[in-house]
Symmetry: C2
Subunit: 347 residues, 2 copies
């Protein structure tokens, strides 16, 4: 029986971590909800119970077996080592440790084996990366994978509950022909804020010096680390354009990819994906069946469709990939890592 | 002095054709607003005047010099030859004649010279194609262009005024937690309709047998015809994923492309685009400056930014491309074709 702490329990991801724990196969003795002092005393739902949020301190992890972190990179950097010192396994949803060579970056459908190398901290990948690798790994296994070019259509909730609230508030203001000053998106803390209501924004996270955003950087390097164990692996070329769109929950992705087997067909790809762990194929153009964000909300699955070959380049294909960014992209993948570690006798 | 007919004068594009004519350099004697009998008698604005809409008939084109069509492919197929027979130059915004080898498909910034080959009908390309070729032609001229992979973020108004209304009505219903039955999008007349409110839809126009939508087919083959004069040109490989997003007006596009000059740099590309006809470069990540749909509405320009090299493939780049789909994507390009023909002494 495990004692589990959820750090950032009041957030968009934290509340869903609690919901995923309720559905989990983990035998749970107790769940402790932790957050900053600002949220202490609030109540959060855990199944039929209401948990009172406690202030996160260095003493919070005594007796905790598993600590799920989703309270921002700074909190993880400070408290994850403390939790490990106290004997907990940390599963961290922030980007704080993802590129640390001593920290496995895990999507259970893809690289559960990397969990065996952990030193107390396991990193949960970026939301947009997770759903993409879930949809591509069955193809990589069977046909090889050489190239990914992805354009994303990412939901506001990927930037947190406040960003989701901003989308809804701004949208109503536009419909009422009123002003609404953006204060969160595209990136909280940046100099300029732009309306997400009815307006795609081609910036997620801050810009790197090379003109890519950090979100794009994450999709490139996390994909390589998850699939090939090396954040700079040259065998798989990856590039990305990440765009925030006026959607509350569920990311969509237009994924172009090239496989090694130049004779592969779209039917063979669909075969490889059908029944694959975590994947649901929705692909019947004649019936106008393809994944849609609104249908993915609340589901743990990654939905794939519109699988079709490039007309001019052998071995090149497109896929439309949709998943709930707060579940498979965050809360569910974290809880799933814990379940997988239990199944692998790593807890 | 020209007598000009606007066919489909009450539509999202037709009303903007009238607005573009007001701003045009064309010397205009009279503008005649035409539409189906359902709209006859309505009034539409042409500058300070209100024009009374007349029913389109086979007799509508007597004395007309230029007929701008935007009332659907079936109307163009029936009435464009009649207008030509009556002595008018037809500039057709539908897809009816775009792939006819005897009909030039023209974006004045790219292939004005094709206008010299016309036989009475000039086709206006698809909206998503126009802005892409405007943004890429200056690069193609200087560095050569071998490959385009585009993912679009297309506005509801691309499917007409009714689709735009549906987006706004559905969005309000979602905010009010009420039901709203979609009836137009993704494609009027198709079996299934899906909500566009807060939901990207990866279908624009009907599906072809090969799994591509007709919109994607258009982006592929129209781009080749406009840039290389051959809808099946092999020298430029093009592929596309077209997605409708909850935006009223202005299409955005994530464009990946490969140039022939493998030593080209992003700075050189920006140089080639700066000052290019119809292009505005908005590209300063340090200032969070990049094109946004909301800023493009009402402008005739195509905005480009986020120009950056692929990190692993020489000669490969990304661009974010935004333009008002109803203006440069439709009404303005049509009127601009007429202006260009006048300047070339083809009227």
């Amino acid at each position: 029986m495990y004692r589990i702490a959820v750090v950032g329990a009041t957030g968009a991801v934290g509340t869903r971590m609690l919901a995923m724990l309720v559905e989990s196969t983990l035998p749970i003795e107790e769940v402790v909800a932790l957050a900053s002092s600002r949220s202490a005393g609030k109540q959060v739902r855990y199944g039929d119970q209401l948990l009172t949020v406690q202030t996160l301190t260095a003493d919070s992890f005594a007796g905790i077996d598993i600590a799920l972190f989703s309270a921002g990179g700074a909190v993880s950097k400070r408290f994850a080592p403390i939790a490990v010192e106290a004997g907990a396994i940390v599963i961290d949803n922030t980007s704080a440790f993802r590129m640390d060579p001593n920290v496995p970056l895990v999507v259970p459908e893809v690289n559960a084996q990397a969990l065996t190398t952990h030193h107390g901290i396991i990193a949960n990948p970026n939301c947009s990366t997770i759903q993409m690798v879930v949809g591509l790994e069955p193809i990589r296994q069977r046909f090889g994978l050489e190239r990914i070019i992805v354009s994303t259509y990412q939901a506001a909730s990927g930037a947190g509950q406040q960003a989701l609230n901003e989308l809804m508030r701004e949208t109503q203001a536009v419909l009422d022909n009123k002003d609404s000053e953006p204060a969160i998106l595209p990136v909280a803390g940046e100099a300029h804020h732009y309306p997400i209501a009815f307006n795609p924004i081609p910036q997620i996270d801050v810009f790197e010096a090379d003109g890519y955003t950090h979100e794009e950087w994450k999709m490139i390097h996390e994909t390589k680390k998850i699939m090939l164990g090396d954040m700079d692996a040259a065998a798989l070329k990856v590039t990305a354009t990440c765009v925030r769109v006026p959607v509350p929950i569920a990311h969509s992705e237009a994924v172009y990819f090239e496989v090694s087997d130049k004779n592969a067909t779209a039917d063979q790809l669909r075969d490889a994906l059908t029944g694959a762990h975590g994947v649901v194929v929705q692909d019947d153009p004649a019936q106008q069946l393809y994944p849609q964000a609104r249908n993915a909300v609340g589901s743990k699955a990654t939905y794939v469709g519109r699988i079709r070959p490039d007309q001019e380049v052998a071995g090149a294909f497109h896929m439309w990939n949709v998943s709930d960014n707060l579940l498979k992209g965050a809360a569910w993948n974290s809880v799933q890592i814990a379940e997988t570690m239990m199944d692998m006798n790593l807890l």
